[in-house]
Protein backbone atom coordinates (compact mmCIF):
# COMPACT_ATOMS: atom_id res chain seq x y z
CA UNK A 1 0.00 0.00 0.00
CA UNK A 2 1.09 3.58 -0.59
CA UNK A 3 2.74 5.13 2.48
CA UNK A 4 5.12 7.96 3.30
CA UNK A 5 7.47 5.79 5.32
CA UNK A 6 7.99 3.41 2.37
CA UNK A 7 8.88 6.31 0.08
CA UNK A 8 11.31 7.64 2.70
CA UNK A 9 12.99 4.27 3.24
CA UNK A 10 13.30 3.58 -0.50
CA UNK A 11 14.94 6.99 -1.00
CA UNK A 12 17.28 6.18 1.87
CA UNK A 13 18.19 2.78 0.41
CA UNK A 14 18.85 4.23 -3.03
CA UNK A 15 21.03 7.01 -1.59
CA UNK A 16 23.08 4.72 0.64
CA UNK A 17 23.68 2.31 -2.23
CA UNK A 18 24.99 5.10 -4.47
CA UNK A 19 26.93 7.36 -2.08
CA UNK A 20 29.09 6.96 1.04
CA UNK A 21 27.45 7.52 4.49
CA UNK A 22 28.53 11.16 5.03
CA UNK A 23 27.25 12.36 1.66
CA UNK A 24 24.06 10.33 2.15
CA UNK A 25 23.46 12.11 5.44
CA UNK A 26 24.10 15.53 3.90
CA UNK A 27 21.74 14.80 0.98
CA UNK A 28 19.06 13.54 3.34
CA UNK A 29 19.38 16.68 5.46
CA UNK A 30 19.00 18.82 2.34
CA UNK A 31 15.94 16.82 1.24
CA UNK A 32 14.41 17.19 4.71
CA UNK A 33 15.06 20.94 4.73
CA UNK A 34 13.65 21.45 1.25
CA UNK A 35 10.55 19.40 2.00
CA UNK A 36 9.97 21.34 5.23
CA UNK A 37 10.19 24.62 3.30
CA UNK A 38 7.84 23.17 0.68
CA UNK A 39 5.44 22.13 3.42
CA UNK A 40 5.61 25.68 4.82
CA UNK A 41 4.70 27.16 1.44
CA UNK A 42 1.81 24.74 0.96
CA UNK A 43 0.58 25.30 4.51
CA UNK A 44 0.71 29.05 4.03
CA UNK A 45 -1.32 28.90 0.83
CA UNK A 46 -3.84 26.38 2.15
CA UNK A 47 -4.36 27.90 5.58
CA UNK A 48 -4.81 31.46 4.33
CA UNK A 49 -7.42 30.30 1.86
CA UNK A 50 -9.03 28.09 4.50
CA UNK A 51 -9.20 30.96 6.98
CA UNK A 52 -10.94 33.21 4.46
CA UNK A 53 -13.32 30.49 3.37
CA UNK A 54 -14.20 29.57 6.96
CA UNK A 55 -14.73 33.23 7.80
CA UNK A 56 -16.98 33.64 4.77
CA UNK A 57 -18.89 30.48 5.57
CA UNK A 58 -19.53 31.56 9.15
CA UNK A 59 -20.60 35.06 8.07
CA UNK A 60 -22.82 33.64 5.29
CA UNK A 61 -20.98 35.18 2.33
CA UNK A 62 -18.93 33.80 -0.53
CA UNK A 63 -15.36 34.69 0.31
CA UNK A 64 -12.61 34.83 -2.34
CA UNK A 65 -14.16 33.76 -5.67
CA UNK A 66 -12.54 35.82 -8.45
CA UNK A 67 -8.97 34.54 -8.87
CA UNK A 68 -8.84 31.12 -10.50
CA UNK A 69 -11.53 28.47 -10.30
CA UNK A 70 -13.66 29.03 -7.15
CA UNK A 71 -11.06 31.54 -5.95
CA UNK A 72 -8.51 28.82 -5.26
CA UNK A 73 -5.61 30.91 -6.57
CA UNK A 74 -6.39 33.86 -4.27
CA UNK A 75 -3.60 33.14 -1.80
CA UNK A 76 -1.16 32.64 -4.68
CA UNK A 77 -2.03 36.15 -5.89
CA UNK A 78 -1.57 37.50 -2.36
CA UNK A 79 1.88 35.89 -2.20
CA UNK A 80 2.93 37.52 -5.48
CA UNK A 81 1.66 40.87 -4.21
CA UNK A 82 3.69 40.54 -1.01
CA UNK A 83 6.80 39.44 -2.90
CA UNK A 84 6.90 42.48 -5.19
CA UNK A 85 6.19 44.99 -2.42
CA UNK A 86 9.01 47.16 -1.15
CA UNK A 87 10.43 46.16 2.23
CA UNK A 88 10.64 49.38 4.22
CA UNK A 89 12.78 49.94 7.28
CA UNK A 90 11.57 52.85 9.43
CA UNK A 91 13.86 55.72 10.27
CA UNK A 92 15.45 55.35 13.70
CA UNK A 93 14.87 51.60 13.85
CA UNK A 94 17.54 49.20 14.98
CA UNK A 95 18.09 47.82 11.49
CA UNK A 96 19.93 44.64 12.45
CA UNK A 97 17.32 43.45 14.94
CA UNK A 98 14.46 44.72 12.78
CA UNK A 99 15.58 42.50 9.92
CA UNK A 100 16.50 39.58 12.17
CA UNK A 101 13.13 39.26 13.96
CA UNK A 102 11.01 37.69 11.16
CA UNK A 103 13.75 35.18 10.43
CA UNK A 104 13.86 34.08 14.06
CA UNK A 105 10.12 33.52 13.95
CA UNK A 106 10.59 31.40 10.83
CA UNK A 107 13.58 29.41 12.18
CA UNK A 108 11.69 28.59 15.37
CA UNK A 109 8.75 27.33 13.34
CA UNK A 110 11.15 25.14 11.34
CA UNK A 111 12.79 23.72 14.46
CA UNK A 112 9.36 22.83 15.82
CA UNK A 113 8.67 20.63 12.81
CA UNK A 114 11.42 18.18 13.80
CA UNK A 115 9.69 15.91 16.35
CA UNK A 116 6.24 15.82 14.69
CA UNK A 117 5.22 12.40 13.37
CA UNK A 118 3.40 13.01 10.08
CA UNK A 119 2.61 9.38 9.39
CA UNK A 120 3.51 5.92 10.59
CA UNK A 121 7.33 5.68 10.99
CA UNK A 122 7.66 9.05 9.27
CA UNK A 123 9.35 11.51 11.59
CA UNK A 124 12.43 13.68 11.25
CA UNK A 125 13.89 13.38 14.73
CA UNK A 126 12.40 11.11 17.39
CA UNK A 127 14.27 12.50 20.38
CA UNK A 128 13.51 11.21 23.85
CA UNK A 129 12.17 14.51 25.19
CA UNK A 130 9.95 15.23 22.15
CA UNK A 131 7.05 17.03 23.83
CA UNK A 132 9.27 18.99 26.20
CA UNK A 133 11.38 20.03 23.20
CA UNK A 134 8.31 21.44 21.49
CA UNK A 135 7.20 23.47 24.49
CA UNK A 136 10.78 24.65 25.06
CA UNK A 137 11.50 25.76 21.51
CA UNK A 138 8.10 27.38 21.07
CA UNK A 139 8.99 29.73 23.93
CA UNK A 140 11.70 31.27 21.70
CA UNK A 141 8.84 32.57 19.53
CA UNK A 142 8.07 35.32 22.04
CA UNK A 143 11.62 36.68 21.61
CA UNK A 144 11.04 37.42 17.94
CA UNK A 145 7.86 39.33 18.77
CA UNK A 146 9.59 41.33 21.52
CA UNK A 147 12.50 42.00 19.16
CA UNK A 148 10.19 43.23 16.40
CA UNK A 149 8.29 45.43 18.82
CA UNK A 150 11.37 47.07 20.29
CA UNK A 151 13.38 47.58 17.13
CA UNK A 152 10.51 49.18 15.17
CA UNK A 153 10.88 52.27 17.39
CA UNK A 154 7.13 52.70 17.41
CA UNK A 155 4.82 53.01 20.42
CA UNK A 156 2.13 50.75 18.94
CA UNK A 157 4.68 48.04 18.24
CA UNK A 158 6.10 48.28 21.76
CA UNK A 159 2.64 48.03 23.32
CA UNK A 160 1.77 45.05 21.14
CA UNK A 161 5.03 43.31 21.96
CA UNK A 162 4.60 43.83 25.71
CA UNK A 163 1.06 42.52 25.65
CA UNK A 164 2.04 39.50 23.65
CA UNK A 165 5.02 38.82 25.91
CA UNK A 166 2.84 38.80 29.03
CA UNK A 167 0.26 36.68 27.26
CA UNK A 168 2.57 34.01 25.83
CA UNK A 169 4.64 33.62 29.01
CA UNK A 170 1.56 33.11 31.16
CA UNK A 171 -0.38 30.83 28.81
CA UNK A 172 2.65 28.60 28.30
CA UNK A 173 2.16 27.38 31.86
CA UNK A 174 -1.30 25.93 31.43
CA UNK A 175 -0.44 24.50 28.00
CA UNK A 176 2.54 22.77 29.59
CA UNK A 177 0.44 21.44 32.47
CA UNK A 178 -2.20 20.14 30.07
CA UNK A 179 0.47 18.28 28.09
CA UNK A 180 1.99 17.00 31.33
CA UNK A 181 -1.30 15.44 32.44
CA UNK A 182 -1.15 13.09 29.44
CA UNK A 183 2.59 12.52 29.88
CA UNK A 184 1.79 11.27 33.39
CA UNK A 185 -0.38 8.57 31.82
CA UNK A 186 2.11 7.50 29.16
CA UNK A 187 5.21 7.80 31.34
CA UNK A 188 7.28 9.07 28.45
CA UNK A 189 7.97 12.33 26.65
CA UNK A 190 8.90 10.65 23.37
CA UNK A 191 6.42 11.32 20.59
CA UNK A 192 6.55 7.80 19.14
CA UNK A 193 5.90 6.23 22.56
CA UNK A 194 2.99 8.57 23.21
CA UNK A 195 1.43 7.57 19.88
CA UNK A 196 2.08 3.87 20.44
CA UNK A 197 0.37 4.04 23.84
CA UNK A 198 -2.85 5.07 22.07
CA UNK A 199 -3.08 1.93 19.96
CA UNK A 200 -6.15 0.76 21.89
CA UNK A 201 -7.93 4.11 22.02
CA UNK A 202 -7.04 7.77 22.10
CA UNK A 203 -6.16 9.41 25.38
CA UNK A 204 -9.08 11.79 25.22
CA UNK A 205 -11.37 8.75 25.51
CA UNK A 206 -9.16 6.61 27.74
CA UNK A 207 -8.35 9.30 30.31
CA UNK A 208 -11.90 9.97 31.60
CA UNK A 209 -13.02 13.53 32.36
CA UNK A 210 -9.55 14.89 33.36
CA UNK A 211 -8.29 14.20 29.82
CA UNK A 212 -11.20 16.14 28.32
CA UNK A 213 -10.62 19.00 30.75
CA UNK A 214 -6.94 19.16 29.86
CA UNK A 215 -7.81 19.02 26.14
CA UNK A 216 -10.08 22.04 26.52
CA UNK A 217 -7.42 23.90 28.54
CA UNK A 218 -4.82 22.99 25.92
CA UNK A 219 -6.93 24.37 23.08
CA UNK A 220 -7.59 27.65 24.95
CA UNK A 221 -3.94 28.02 25.90
CA UNK A 222 -2.55 27.37 22.41
CA UNK A 223 -5.06 29.77 20.88
CA UNK A 224 -3.62 32.39 23.20
CA UNK A 225 -0.05 31.29 22.57
CA UNK A 226 -0.35 31.67 18.80
CA UNK A 227 -1.87 35.16 19.24
CA UNK A 228 -5.11 34.30 17.52
CA UNK A 229 -8.50 35.85 18.17
CA UNK A 230 -10.07 36.10 20.75
CA UNK A 231 -6.61 36.50 22.27
CA UNK A 232 -5.08 38.63 19.49
CA UNK A 233 -4.31 41.58 21.76
CA UNK A 234 -0.79 41.74 20.37
CA UNK A 235 -2.12 42.91 17.03
CA UNK A 236 -5.50 44.26 18.05
CA UNK A 237 -6.15 46.21 14.86
CA UNK A 238 -8.75 48.53 16.35
CA UNK A 239 -6.40 49.68 19.13
CA UNK A 240 -2.82 49.20 17.97
CA UNK A 241 -3.07 49.39 14.14
CA UNK A 242 -1.25 46.08 13.75
CA UNK A 243 0.68 45.57 16.99
CA UNK A 244 4.22 44.32 16.77
CA UNK A 245 4.30 44.12 12.96
CA UNK A 246 2.96 47.62 12.30
CA UNK A 247 6.18 48.71 10.62
CA UNK A 248 6.78 45.57 8.61
CA UNK A 249 5.97 45.38 4.92
CA UNK A 250 6.57 43.13 1.95
CA UNK A 251 8.34 39.84 2.48
CA UNK A 252 9.24 40.47 6.13
CA UNK A 253 5.59 40.89 6.97
CA UNK A 254 4.84 37.76 4.96
CA UNK A 255 7.31 35.81 7.08
CA UNK A 256 5.53 36.87 10.29
CA UNK A 257 2.19 36.04 8.72
CA UNK A 258 3.40 32.65 7.52
CA UNK A 259 5.01 31.79 10.85
CA UNK A 260 1.72 32.52 12.61
CA UNK A 261 -0.12 30.04 10.41
CA UNK A 262 2.65 27.44 10.66
CA UNK A 263 2.54 27.81 14.44
CA UNK A 264 -1.19 27.18 14.41
CA UNK A 265 -0.50 24.03 12.39
CA UNK A 266 2.23 22.91 14.80
CA UNK A 267 0.24 23.37 17.99
CA UNK A 268 -2.71 21.60 16.41
CA UNK A 269 -0.42 18.76 15.33
CA UNK A 270 0.89 18.45 18.89
CA UNK A 271 -2.64 18.52 20.26
CA UNK A 272 -3.66 15.84 17.76
CA UNK A 273 -0.61 13.77 18.69
CA UNK A 274 -1.13 13.93 22.42
CA UNK A 275 -4.89 13.78 22.78
CA UNK A 276 -6.12 12.27 19.52
CA UNK A 277 -3.45 9.70 18.77
CA UNK A 278 -1.45 11.39 16.01
CA UNK A 279 -1.37 9.07 13.00
CA UNK A 280 -2.98 6.29 15.02
CA UNK A 281 -6.30 5.25 13.44
CA UNK A 282 -9.47 5.27 15.50
CA UNK A 283 -9.24 2.08 17.53
CA UNK A 284 -11.63 0.80 20.18
CA UNK A 285 -10.13 -1.54 22.75
CA UNK A 286 -10.21 -5.12 21.46
CA UNK A 287 -12.67 -4.83 18.61
CA UNK A 288 -10.18 -6.47 16.27
CA UNK A 289 -12.27 -6.38 13.09
CA UNK A 290 -13.29 -2.74 13.59
CA UNK A 291 -9.66 -1.75 14.24
CA UNK A 292 -8.61 -3.66 11.14
CA UNK A 293 -11.06 -1.76 8.93
CA UNK A 294 -9.80 1.53 10.37
CA UNK A 295 -6.22 0.55 9.55
CA UNK A 296 -7.05 0.62 5.83
CA UNK A 297 -7.18 4.42 5.89
CA UNK A 298 -3.55 5.64 5.50
CA UNK A 299 -1.94 7.03 8.63
CA UNK A 300 -1.04 10.36 7.01
CA UNK A 301 -4.72 10.99 6.24
CA UNK A 302 -5.57 10.35 9.88
CA UNK A 303 -2.88 12.77 11.04
CA UNK A 304 -3.75 15.59 8.67
CA UNK A 305 -7.46 15.04 9.19
CA UNK A 306 -7.18 15.43 12.96
CA UNK A 307 -4.83 18.38 12.65
CA UNK A 308 -7.06 20.24 10.22
CA UNK A 309 -10.08 19.53 12.38
CA UNK A 310 -8.33 21.25 15.29
CA UNK A 311 -7.26 24.12 13.01
CA UNK A 312 -10.90 24.52 11.97
CA UNK A 313 -11.82 24.66 15.66
CA UNK A 314 -9.34 27.47 16.23
CA UNK A 315 -10.66 29.37 13.21
CA UNK A 316 -14.17 28.88 14.51
CA UNK A 317 -13.14 30.49 17.83
CA UNK A 318 -12.05 33.56 15.94
CA UNK A 319 -15.51 34.36 14.62
CA UNK A 320 -17.37 33.30 17.74
CA UNK A 321 -15.82 35.12 20.70
CA UNK A 322 -15.17 38.85 21.07
CA UNK A 323 -11.64 39.96 21.90
CA UNK A 324 -10.69 39.94 25.59
CA UNK A 325 -9.31 42.94 27.45
CA UNK A 326 -5.76 42.54 28.81
CA UNK A 327 -6.87 42.27 32.45
CA UNK A 328 -9.60 39.77 31.55
CA UNK A 329 -6.99 37.79 29.64
CA UNK A 330 -4.60 37.60 32.58
CA UNK A 331 -7.44 36.90 35.02
CA UNK A 332 -8.59 34.00 32.87
CA UNK A 333 -5.12 32.46 32.94
CA UNK A 334 -4.00 33.07 36.51
CA UNK A 335 -7.32 32.78 38.36
CA UNK A 336 -9.09 30.08 36.36
CA UNK A 337 -7.01 28.05 33.90
CA UNK A 338 -3.88 27.61 36.02
CA UNK A 339 -5.60 26.42 39.24
CA UNK A 340 -7.92 24.17 37.24
CA UNK A 341 -5.06 22.62 35.29
CA UNK A 342 -3.01 22.09 38.47
CA UNK A 343 -5.92 20.33 40.16
CA UNK A 344 -6.51 18.39 36.98
CA UNK A 345 -2.88 17.27 36.94
CA UNK A 346 -3.24 16.03 40.53
CA UNK A 347 -6.38 14.05 39.68
CA UNK A 348 -4.67 12.66 36.60
CA UNK A 349 -1.67 11.55 38.67
CA UNK A 350 -4.01 9.77 41.09
CA UNK A 351 -5.72 8.05 38.16
CA UNK A 352 -2.37 6.99 36.70
CA UNK A 353 -1.14 5.61 40.03
CA UNK A 354 -4.37 3.74 40.80
CA UNK A 355 -4.61 2.48 37.22
CA UNK A 356 -8.16 3.72 36.67
CA UNK A 357 -7.61 4.68 33.05
CA UNK A 358 -8.44 2.16 30.33
Amino acid sequence: MWSLSKIASSIHEWLSSTFNPTITQVIEMVIAGVSIIGLFAVLGLVLVLMERRVAAWIQIRLGPNRVGPLGLLQSMADTVKLLVKEGLTPNGADKFLFNLAPFIAMIVAMLLMAPIAFAKDFQLWDLNIGVLYVSAVSSIMVISILMAGWSSNNKYSLMGAMRSGAQIVSYELSAGLAILSIVVLTGSLQVSTIIQSQADGWWIFKGHIPAIVSFVIFMIAVTAETNRAPFDLAEAESELTAGFHTEYSGMKFALFFLSEYVNVFIVCAIGATIFLGGWMPFHIGHWESFNHIMDYIPSSIWFFGKTFMLIFLIMWFRWTFPRLRIDQLLNLEWKYLLPISMLNLLIMTAIAILGWHF
Partner: protein
Protein backbone atom coordinates in the same frame (compact mmCIF):
# COMPACT_ATOMS: atom_id res chain seq x y z
CA UNK B 1 38.03 14.95 7.00
CA UNK B 2 36.19 16.22 10.03
CA UNK B 3 33.10 14.46 11.22
CA UNK B 4 29.79 16.26 11.54
CA UNK B 5 29.87 16.39 15.31
CA UNK B 6 33.31 18.06 15.34
CA UNK B 7 32.11 20.78 12.97
CA UNK B 8 29.00 21.20 15.10
CA UNK B 9 31.12 21.60 18.25
CA UNK B 10 33.27 24.32 16.72
CA UNK B 11 30.22 26.12 15.35
CA UNK B 12 28.56 26.09 18.78
CA UNK B 13 31.76 27.22 20.51
CA UNK B 14 32.12 30.10 18.05
CA UNK B 15 28.49 31.10 18.60
CA UNK B 16 28.86 31.04 22.39
CA UNK B 17 32.12 32.97 22.53
CA UNK B 18 31.35 35.57 19.86
CA UNK B 19 27.90 36.37 21.20
CA UNK B 20 29.29 36.50 24.75
CA UNK B 21 31.96 39.00 23.69
CA UNK B 22 29.43 41.09 21.76
CA UNK B 23 27.04 41.14 24.70
CA UNK B 24 29.58 42.71 27.04
CA UNK B 25 30.91 45.13 24.43
CA UNK B 26 27.77 46.50 22.79
CA UNK B 27 26.41 49.83 23.95
CA UNK B 28 22.78 49.17 23.02
CA UNK B 29 21.16 47.46 25.97
CA UNK B 30 18.53 45.55 24.01
CA UNK B 31 21.17 44.15 21.70
CA UNK B 32 23.14 43.01 24.73
CA UNK B 33 20.09 41.06 25.91
CA UNK B 34 19.69 39.48 22.47
CA UNK B 35 23.36 38.49 22.36
CA UNK B 36 23.06 36.93 25.82
CA UNK B 37 20.06 35.04 24.49
CA UNK B 38 22.10 33.64 21.62
CA UNK B 39 24.86 32.64 24.03
CA UNK B 40 22.34 30.76 26.16
CA UNK B 41 20.87 29.04 23.09
CA UNK B 42 24.41 28.07 22.09
CA UNK B 43 24.96 26.55 25.52
CA UNK B 44 21.69 24.65 25.21
CA UNK B 45 22.99 23.40 21.86
CA UNK B 46 26.18 22.33 23.62
CA UNK B 47 24.10 20.30 26.08
CA UNK B 48 22.37 18.68 23.12
CA UNK B 49 25.81 17.95 21.67
CA UNK B 50 26.82 16.28 24.96
CA UNK B 51 23.55 14.28 24.78
CA UNK B 52 22.02 15.82 27.88
CA UNK B 53 18.74 16.55 26.09
CA UNK B 54 16.66 17.07 29.21
CA UNK B 55 19.02 19.70 30.58
CA UNK B 56 19.07 21.44 27.20
CA UNK B 57 15.28 21.65 27.18
CA UNK B 58 15.25 22.92 30.78
CA UNK B 59 17.86 25.52 29.83
CA UNK B 60 15.72 26.79 26.97
CA UNK B 61 12.48 26.79 28.97
CA UNK B 62 13.92 28.56 32.01
CA UNK B 63 16.37 30.96 30.42
CA UNK B 64 14.79 31.84 27.10
CA UNK B 65 11.15 31.55 28.14
CA UNK B 66 11.62 33.04 31.58
CA UNK B 67 14.73 34.98 32.46
CA UNK B 68 15.49 36.66 29.15
CA UNK B 69 11.86 37.67 28.73
CA UNK B 70 11.96 39.18 32.23
CA UNK B 71 15.16 41.06 31.40
CA UNK B 72 13.64 42.33 28.14
CA UNK B 73 10.56 43.46 30.03
CA UNK B 74 12.66 45.38 32.52
CA UNK B 75 14.47 46.98 29.58
CA UNK B 76 11.12 47.93 28.02
CA UNK B 77 9.97 49.54 31.25
CA UNK B 78 13.15 51.46 32.09
CA UNK B 79 14.96 52.36 28.87
CA UNK B 80 14.24 54.44 25.80
CA UNK B 81 14.42 52.88 22.33
CA UNK B 82 17.39 54.16 20.34
CA UNK B 83 19.23 55.37 23.43
CA UNK B 84 22.78 54.23 24.07
CA UNK B 85 24.48 53.39 27.33
CA UNK B 86 27.08 55.76 28.71
CA UNK B 87 30.62 55.14 27.50
CA UNK B 88 32.74 53.15 29.89
CA UNK B 89 35.75 54.83 31.38
CA UNK B 90 39.04 53.78 29.86
CA UNK B 91 40.88 53.02 33.13
CA UNK B 92 38.03 50.82 34.29
CA UNK B 93 38.09 49.00 30.96
CA UNK B 94 41.84 48.43 31.16
CA UNK B 95 41.61 47.22 34.75
CA UNK B 96 38.73 44.85 34.01
CA UNK B 97 40.35 43.54 30.85
CA UNK B 98 43.62 42.94 32.65
CA UNK B 99 41.91 41.18 35.56
CA UNK B 100 39.86 38.99 33.24
CA UNK B 101 42.86 38.16 31.08
CA UNK B 102 45.11 37.29 34.05
CA UNK B 103 42.39 35.13 35.58
CA UNK B 104 41.81 33.42 32.25
CA UNK B 105 45.52 32.74 31.71
CA UNK B 106 45.96 31.41 35.25
CA UNK B 107 42.99 29.07 35.00
CA UNK B 108 43.76 27.78 31.54
CA UNK B 109 47.37 27.01 32.50
CA UNK B 110 46.13 25.14 35.55
CA UNK B 111 43.63 23.17 33.49
CA UNK B 112 46.13 22.25 30.80
CA UNK B 113 48.76 21.15 33.34
CA UNK B 114 46.35 19.04 35.33
CA UNK B 115 45.98 15.59 33.81
CA UNK B 116 42.34 14.64 34.20
CA UNK B 117 41.63 10.96 34.70
CA UNK B 118 38.93 10.06 32.22
CA UNK B 119 36.06 8.09 33.71
CA UNK B 120 35.90 4.42 32.81
CA UNK B 121 32.56 3.47 34.36
CA UNK B 122 29.68 2.47 32.16
CA UNK B 123 27.88 5.71 31.36
CA UNK B 124 24.35 6.30 32.65
CA UNK B 125 22.05 7.58 29.94
CA UNK B 126 20.47 10.73 31.42
CA UNK B 127 16.92 9.93 30.37
CA UNK B 128 13.98 11.54 32.09
CA UNK B 129 13.25 8.33 34.03
CA UNK B 130 16.80 8.11 35.41
CA UNK B 131 16.84 11.78 36.34
CA UNK B 132 13.47 11.56 38.07
CA UNK B 133 14.40 8.47 40.04
CA UNK B 134 17.69 9.94 41.26
CA UNK B 135 16.09 13.30 41.97
CA UNK B 136 13.42 11.91 44.29
CA UNK B 137 15.56 9.14 45.80
CA UNK B 138 15.87 9.35 49.60
CA UNK B 139 18.37 6.52 50.07
CA UNK B 140 21.37 6.08 47.77
CA UNK B 141 22.70 9.65 47.94
CA UNK B 142 19.63 10.84 46.07
CA UNK B 143 18.69 14.47 45.72
CA UNK B 144 15.33 14.60 47.49
CA UNK B 145 16.54 16.97 50.22
CA UNK B 146 18.14 19.61 47.96
CA UNK B 147 15.05 19.33 45.77
CA UNK B 148 12.84 20.26 48.72
CA UNK B 149 15.19 23.09 49.71
CA UNK B 150 15.02 24.54 46.21
CA UNK B 151 11.25 24.32 46.18
CA UNK B 152 11.11 26.21 49.49
CA UNK B 153 13.44 28.82 48.00
CA UNK B 154 11.17 29.22 44.97
CA UNK B 155 8.12 29.49 47.24
CA UNK B 156 9.86 32.17 49.28
CA UNK B 157 10.69 34.09 46.10
CA UNK B 158 7.04 33.84 45.00
CA UNK B 159 5.74 35.08 48.35
CA UNK B 160 8.29 37.91 48.30
CA UNK B 161 7.14 38.98 44.85
CA UNK B 162 3.52 39.02 45.94
CA UNK B 163 4.35 41.07 49.05
CA UNK B 164 6.26 43.62 46.99
CA UNK B 165 3.43 43.82 44.45
CA UNK B 166 0.75 44.17 47.13
CA UNK B 167 2.46 47.03 48.96
CA UNK B 168 0.05 49.92 48.66
CA UNK B 169 1.38 53.05 47.08
CA UNK B 170 1.61 56.12 49.33
CA UNK B 171 -1.07 58.68 48.62
CA UNK B 172 0.26 61.10 46.02
CA UNK B 173 -0.87 64.68 46.40
CA UNK B 174 -1.46 65.91 42.89
CA UNK B 175 -1.60 69.59 43.82
Amino acid sequence: MMSGSTILFYLLATLIISCGVLSVLTRQIFRAAIYVLFTLIGIAGMYFWLQYEFLAAVQIVVYVGGIIVLIIFSIFLTQQAGEKLAKQQLDRKIFAGLAAFCGFALTIVQVLQHGFKMGTETPIVPTVENIGQRMLDVNNSGYAFPFEIVSILLLAALVGCIVIALRSKPEVNLK
